[in-house]
Symmetry: C2
Amino acid sequence: MTQSRPRNIPEATVARLAVYLRVLAGLADDGRSHVSSGELASAAGVNPAGLRKDLSHLGPCGVRGVGYSVAGLRARLSEALGGERSRPCVLVGLGRLGSALADYTGFASRGFTFVGLLDSDPATVGTRVGGCTVRPVEELEAVVRATAATIGVITTPAEVAQSVCDRLVAAGVRSILNFAPVALSVPAGVDVRKVDLSVELQVLAFLDQQRAQVPAPAAALRTAGSLG
Amino acid sequence: MTQSRPRNIPEATVARLAVYLRVLAGLADDGRSHVSSGELASAAGVNPAGLRKDLSHLGPCGVRGVGYSVAGLRARLSEALGGERSRPCVLVGLGRLGSALADYTGFASRGFTFVGLLDSDPATVGTRVGGCTVRPVEELEAVVRATAATIGVITTPAEVAQSVCDRLVAAGVRSILNFAPVALSVPAGVDVRKVDLSVELQVLAFLDQQRAQVPAPAAALRTAGSLG
DNA sequence: TCTTGTGAAACGCTTCACAGCC
DNA sequence: GGCTGTGAAGCGTTTCACAAGA
């Protein structure tokens, strides 16, 4: 229990802190000892001033005229985001997407471990995905309680997502990442983040189409090149 | 004749329009002919007034005192988002996540068809995923030009994402959905949307931890920090 | 000089309240 | 009476400009 003060850090900032942390890991692997806000911002794809403002929520992190210590900043960010402690997660719905997530090394390397994988398909139950055996969805409550998981990931079809969500919440899960294309309703005190992959594509397509209809603003657009 | 004006619709609004469109499809399947902003907003997980403001970007869509025609609003939204016309997409990197996306029916039902799947692994090349045969990544330029695809999806490891991106752009792709955990740099006129799954989980975990540190529920969020 | 840290302005999005129309 | 459409207020985030400090 260090003096980590939970000053309300804006959610948008938290998301970027996670990105900075990953970039710093890469810099550390390259043997770098210091980095400036400009370089770090460039690698993270953000504005340098914005990066400094983000870091200012953690108090002074750098040295003026010099930059940031890679190791020092990394430790600071890691602690602010919850430390290296392992976080037990359960995932429900091992279709294509669920299996991909359960086997995604990007999670494990950040302290997230899937301690429970649940599916309703008898053909999937019993198989091993990402080092964990899939169990029948009937055992959901037992698994959540046994593992004390507070984070749940839903990758089921939309039709059953709400009932799965209800069961997760009843069993003690307070944070849910929802990939099913429905709006989940949860009681106060439970947080849901939604990731909607087809919406992402649709937004991209909209912008793409919008750009195609309007002629190039300056000479920014290259000739498309496809003639017949 | 088609007086649909592509007035700059906020990006956040575009994302929600796609959600409304999906909800409307469900209502149509249920045989509903009309719906109010309240009901539609509830199903989409948003504020009713916000929904009406979103729709206001398309001009008047409903009937005061009555609500919205399900079929009429659906047609309007569909057209605003780019219509039903099929959009050719290419996807590079058929690991677990890439395969899941290529086989995701949620895309196909919205007019997105993967006309090119590319991978560098000889063991993956030649297999069929979601009705399309995987081809060697060397053929990237040829596939993009042959299909006139303007949308690309990158699900490769981070190390090769930038080079894949460069090749997509050079071949004519102007809109990219990036799942690799790196910031891609692209010339002006090209749009990149990034989806970072491990960041989503990390933000969720941060909020989860933050809530765990403050024992009291709900109302206690405001009272932290002030000294009398 | 160089770079961080930060108030303040600027921006975009959300929420509210109510006018307008059925 | 009921519901939509919308100006205006409110809020959070981003950007700017510069003071502070190694």
